[in-house]
């Protein structure tokens, strides 16, 4: 969440990085190759289109005129320091927060008017959300399979448990799982309905490097097999670099850079996305270090 006092440094950063979105004219303002013009207008491939999305909480702007799109089968990462507006953006897309202004279209429909139809075709997983502890893993998954209207629910559950290498946990109480196992069960839940759009909030946060790597490969596999589009937040830069086709960098509620991980690294003249992240978080350093960006 952004305080207005930070607006000055924010504006400097935004100028330096050529903003995408705010006050964007009808023709796309795209001074740099990494600032995608496709974000401005939905195409037939577009699955999620966010237009001039703004959220203000008690005079504090959390998300500021955000514009971006995600195409079918694309994995897009949202990066930004704490308070950059990532989670608020995800929650608005899920319909948990009503935007102050702007529009969110998912599958060509507005979430405010068609919430149930849209939610049936998407899913989400968040590191902060759990399943009832005293139910078996299979019971929890069965309940959500039914809520999402999944046909042949038991078969689908077995398929996913095998895919995520947790078939042996099928009849274990959810409360007895380690955090890594729980993350994978949550991911199972998120894949139950073969979502066309998957929102992932720190999906590898509790996983060891080996399992995190497996999960990334599974997500890639799911993307390639089913053409699932994903919006992915993580503080793990390796996650983002490995899995995301495109990255949206947010700072103080605004989208300040967009491109492939490689493009962004090159743009900021850094060696890694992590360095970019640190420099964007410390906005002044971006201006000094990457002033020509």
């Amino acid at each position: 969440m952004k305080r207005n006092r930070s607006r000055q440094s924010h504006q400097i950063v935004a100028m330096a990085l050529s903003p995408v979105g705010r006050g964007a004219p009808s023709t796309c303002y795209n001074p740099a190759p990494l600032l995608s013009c496709s974000a401005m207008r939905p195409t037939t491939k577009t699955i999620l289109h966010v237009h001039e999305l703004t959220k203000v909480f008690n005079g504090v702007t959390a998300v500021d005129h955000l514009n971006f799109s995600i195409d079918r089968g694309e994995i897009v990462g949202i990066l930004g320091a704490n308070g950059a507006g990532k989670t608020t953006t995800l929650q608005m897309i899920l319909g948990l927060i009503r935007p102050t202004s702007g529009r969110i279209e998912i599958f060509g429909q507005e979430i405010e008017q068609h919430r149930i139809e849209i939610l049936r075709r998407m899913n989400f997983s968040s590191v902060g959300v759990n399943l009832p502890a005293n139910l078996l893993v299979s019971q929890n998954l069965w309940v959500f399979a039914k809520l999402y209207g999944v046909k042949q629910a038991r078969r689908r559950i077995d398929e996913l448990l095998a895919l995520l290498e947790i078939a042996h946990l099928r009849d274990v109480r959810t409360g007895r799982l380690s955090s890594g196992e729980l993350s994978r069960v949550n991911l199972c839940k998120a894949l139950l309905n073969r979502p066309e759009l998957l929102l992932l909030d720190e999906p590898t946060a509790s996983l060891d490097p080996d399992m995190a790597d497996k999960v990334r490969k599974i997500l890639r596999h799911v993307q390639q097999e089913d053409g699932v589009a994903m919006l992915y937040t993580s503080h793990n830069m390796r996650d983002i670099e490995e899995i995301c086709d495109r990255v949206l960098f947010m700072h103080n509620g605004r989208l300040i850079a967009e491109g492939t991980p490689q493009q962004i690294v090159e743009r900021f003249h850094t060696r890694s996305l992590e360095e970019v992240f640190i420099r964007v978080a410390r906005s002044g350093e971006v201006v000094v270090g990457g002033g020509e960006a």
């Binding site: 995800l90 948990l96 968040s126 959300v129 809520l147």
Partner: protein
């Protein structure tokens, strides 16, 4: 509304309770303790009065059982909601294709199941221990119970609205709110013993008409239709207001970003 989704949500609560011995015991433990205490207190008072209060046990035990119906109906809704809060599962539900109305209806239906279990147990226990036959109330039993369930549902919905709006700190309301109504509802005594100012509040509650009506049935055997009419009318008004309050609170929670606080940070 989608019946399959409602059914699945109800079944989920059944799974949760079936797998938890403590929760199952809780459904029966407190009502049983209350019945024992009130039943023996009534027996003692009746004995001390040397037969001057022949219906005292019936009044108190009937009142205790009826109060428990209201309380359990409210708890059915509010505790089912809190189960999801405590499990950090609320966002999974709100982000699934589930309407708020379907969710609330499922919690109410599960509450009905809890009430049914408790009521059956208490009815048997009251007969065995005190020879109190709940069915002696006859046909009036049905509208009495229906009105108490409706008020329990209303208070349960208000509880959800309060917790949604004020967060974890407001959870004690799940237990406190019904007891706010108890002194005004004339559960264990007639309205006439209350101070006049309290009587005004008392007659504004549907539960008061049920408890007064119950005593009338035990005393004279006549069904007080006027009381029942008031109870139904007031229940309808309060239920509509409670549903509006919940929808309004949900909208406020969405505007202020309060829903996300139940899981995503």
């Amino acid at each position: 509304m989608n019946l399959q989704r409602i059914g699945v949500l109800v079944l989920r609560y059944v799974f949760i309770y079936r797998r938890s011995f403590i929760r199952l015991i809780e459904i029966l433990f407190w009502p049983t303790m209350a019945l024992l205490v009130w039943g023996f207190v009534a027996s003692f008072i009746q004995r001390a009065g040397e037969g001057d209060l022949p219906r005292f046990i019936s009044f108190l035990i009937g009142a205790m059982i009826f109060w428990d119906i209201l309380f359990r109906a409210q708890q059915g809704i509010s505790l089912s909601f809190l189960e999801d809060v405590w499990a950090r599962n609320l966002l999974n539900i709100f982000c699934a294709p589930v309407r708020l109305s379907e969710y609330v209806l499922a919690t109410f239906l599960f509450g009905l199941m809890r009430v049914g279990l408790t009521l059956a147990f208490l009815t048997i226990l009251a007969w065995v221990l005190y020879h109190f036959n709940l069915f002696s109330l006859g046909f009036a039993l049905i509208p009495f119970i229906a009105n108490l369930l409706a008020l329990g549902c209303t208070v349960g919905i208000v509880t959800i609205a309060i917790v949604l709006r004020y967060g974890h700190g407001a959870e004690p309301f799940a237990w406190a709110l019904p007891f706010l109504l108890q002194p005004f509802s004339a559960v264990f005594y007639p309205v006439s013993v209350l101070p006049e100012a309290m009587q005004v509040v008392s007659w504004a509650l549907p539960s008061t008409y049920v408890f007064e009506g119950m005593r009338e049935v035990i005393r004279s055997g006549a069904i007080p239709w006027e009381n029942l009419g008031w109870a139904v009318g007031l229940n309808l008004i309060y239920l509509v207001v409670a549903v509006w309050l919940l929808m309004h609170t949900f909208a406020v929670a969405r505007n202020r970003g309060l829903l996300g606080k139940w899981g995503m940070q």
